[in-house]
Subunit: 452 residues, 2 copies
């Protein structure tokens, strides 16, 4: 019998999150207050985040305890299987051993509830009654709706308009869990109305949706804002993925040579990769690859500098790779990867050569997705497909070089709500975009002049 | 730590299917040849089914070995978890212990690939190049597409038109796995064209779609027909569900007082229930409930007699509960439960008092689905929701009677492709239907006069 799935039981779930910061040579630069260029005080951040999460955001400790109440919800679907992709290996005729961590088994269908549950919990503990957020492809908005429903919080989601139209059933899922959802830009906020007035046909962007969600949180009582990626605490919460994977590799006496994840804000990538990055920082030879879309090439073509996290300039300044806070990427199908910036911890990892970014065209991603669906069975989300495309490249390279590499990637989400995109790909109706260098340069010219 | 999921490892997967027939007092009546009223010969059946499956169809043995090649595919998602629904218990304030067998974790999202993989395998072994089938909600068509893709067979699916329109992304999923799909009635067959001519706006029915798929198989070289429910061998293949569940109950030293499944043709119900029915036949006190929609009340209002399995009268005559082979049920959202007949083994179980049928209104099913989604997290298919509605009834009864019953049900499929139905329910736009008694009586008046 083939042993495809390496399974941990509930008692083997990690009970601490990993914080990468103590393993970096240089800690990430602080968030800056755009009004004066000084580091943001926790008190100012506390307008939109609960203190429990801000403490984690600033924590210098390598390990953070996971409260029992969070673990009890996570065991609804965790530990997740680490799967040996025998059928994909066969389809690619590769000597490489390919594994994937299947994060699509959560109720919302992705890794996102790993942090959504934690964020809803800390907000609930501090008496917050309502959370607002943005969502790209809808995975994050679904996850936060699910988590808020569990802990009895109200929830409102601003979903990037192009994704709202491409994936109508994310809305239904969010309603089923009792939350509200609006396409962004919306008429619900000043930021949304201003952008709609200038450009009524805008596809929207994560940067705009963040502006709307932050404004909504600031303007309403007992409401805080919740972010699905980018920030340190979000990435910490996701490390449970890689920590489980390490235990699972021990069970089969294997260890990856190559670790792959797709990067939008960076949270699913960090979740799998950071626990292995600690080994790399300690001198172990591991290749760690973050894949991003060619059409939104933040890591490969962005500038590493201070910029706003959102379009309307409501967030603190964050030092990260950025394409400019008002850059609006083409409407590719991987909505979760359409972000102008990236997590500061990802930028730090790139600076310290702990990982390498790689850009992928969306047709190559869809092609890899079909190969995966027709071998392993599961249909991946377009975001996840950008990771699979890199895995396919590396597996073919291993074949050409005759090397038996061990590759692991994060299967961050299923594509059940992205089937219209598959329709278009199968009909030959999906195009690639060149790097939109002119638009990027225009947006970069509008970068804030603070903290450079 | 709550132990929600009772997990078996791959080596604990059952290696034999259970055949209920030897445990019945009276074996089910034979299929009859409509041309002469005599029992169908295997040779005639072999026009549309491979001998490997016909042998299982006629087998008197209580156990049938599962070939290694089938087990290797099944371990892509099997054994499936048996889940203790702590959060649902809490939401219902019941002293009952509720468990569900989560069959939604397969790549197509339901129990259906348990038999699709087996059927594709036996056809492949006998050199068949192409399979045809019908599908209601799309779960079965997806599963057969998935299985045919795995074993390198071509596949064509006729999908009941109302479901094709309600669930457009099942089509995309089927295309992703490389199969063809047409809404039924279609212009691809004589049966389809004849019905379209009489009633161009028909919502279609499983009976019509079966006629089209059978005709297609008969008319094409090296093509056979595959059925997703009703027949003995299909039900045998599903018993792996209940056989796993029994092992899982042993691990937690529990055993069900009540077993629940929804019944369209009867295969997911049989899959969970038959292994427990053997204990009931041996005198153990277990209540086994099959739930069906009020709008298509085959078991509760049908007649137990010989009838065709399809509308165009192409199948053998089958002794079963039936509403008449040309009865077209209202377009309820549980498309998989819109069948005029039921498996002969289910009819036999009803006759021998081994189970009790119960009819459920679709709004009650959707209400139960929302309760489940907001407690356990996972969003159920509308078919599965008919089982959940019975579980809710029984859990509330246990509370009222102060009894700590153990209830298990088959979570046969997720609702990711049924979200438009949730939209309509949440908008208050779903109605119930009375028993369509007049239409049933008209259809029953047209029953064949053979074998009564």
């Amino acid at each position: 019998m083939l042993h495809r799935r390496i399974i941990l039981n509930e008692d083997q779930i990690p009970t601490k999150w990993l914080n990468l910061i103590p393993y970096l040579k240089k800690p990430p630069a602080p968030y800056l207050d755009p009004s004066n260029g000084e580091p943001m005080s926790p008190e100012k951040m506390a307008v939109i985040f609960p203190m429990g999460l801000l403490q984690q955001e600033m924590s210098p400790d390598p390990w953070i305890d996971i409260p029992e109440e969070i673990l009890e919800v996570l065991t609804t679907w965790r530990p997740t299987p680490l799967v040996r992709a025998y059928s994909l290996e066969q389809a690619l005729e590769t000597p490489a051993k390919i594994y994937y961590k299947n994060e699509s088994v959560s109720p919302p269908g992705s890794h996102k509830p790993n942090t959504a549950v934690a964020q809803a919990y800390y907000n609930m503990k501090e008496g917050v009654a309502r959370l607002t957020t943005e969502t790209g492809a809808g995975q994050w908005g679904s996850a936060l709706s699910y988590a808020c429903n569990h802990f009895g919080l109200e929830c409102r989601v601003y979903m990037v308009r192009i994704s709202y139209e491409q994936k109508p059933y994310r809305k239904s899922m969010i309603h089923t869990w009792g939350a509200e959802i609006f396409p962004s830009p919306s008429d619900q906020t000043n930021a949304g109305r201003a952008i709609l007035e200038k450009d009524p046909d805008t596809p929207g962007s994560l940067g705009i949706a963040i502006s709307e969600a932050v404004e909504d949180a600031v303007m309403h009582d007992n409401t805080k804002y919740s972010l699905g990626s980018v920030l340190n605490h979000v990435l910490h919460h996701q490390t449970i993925i890689g920590l489980e994977a390490k235990k699972q590799f021990e069970l089969v006496d294997d260890f990856p040579d190559i670790v792959v994840g797709c990067v939008g804000g960076g949270s699913n990538f960090a979740g799998l990769a950071f626990p292995f990055m600690v080994d790399k920082a300690n001198g172990r030879d591991i290749q760690i690859i973050g894949s991003e879309p060619y059409a939104c090439p933040t890591m490969t073509k962005g500038q590493l500098t201070y910029d706003f996290g959102d379009t309307a300039q409501m967030t603190p300044l964050i030092r990260m790779h950025t394409l400019g806070h008002d850059f609006i990427p083409p409407g590719i199908h991987a909505g979760g990867l359409r972000y102008h910036g990236v997590a500061p911890l990802i930028s730090a990892a790139i600076e310290e050569n702990l990982m390498e970014p790689r850009a992928i065209h969306q047709t190559e991603a869809f092609k890899a997705a079909i190969t995966f669906a027709r071998s392993e069975g599961i249909i991946p989300a377009p975001e996840t497909s950008h990771a699979i495309a890199v895995v396919v490249q590396e597996a073919i390279k291993a074949r050409e070089e005759g090397k038996e590499k061990t590759i692991v990637f994060n299967f961050s989400g299923h594509g059940h709500f992205d089937m219209a995109s598959y329709d278009r790909f199968l009909a030959g109706d999906i195009e690639d975009y060149e790097y939109p260098m002119e638009k990027i340069q225009e947006a970069l010219a509008r970068l804030p002049k603070i903290g450079v």
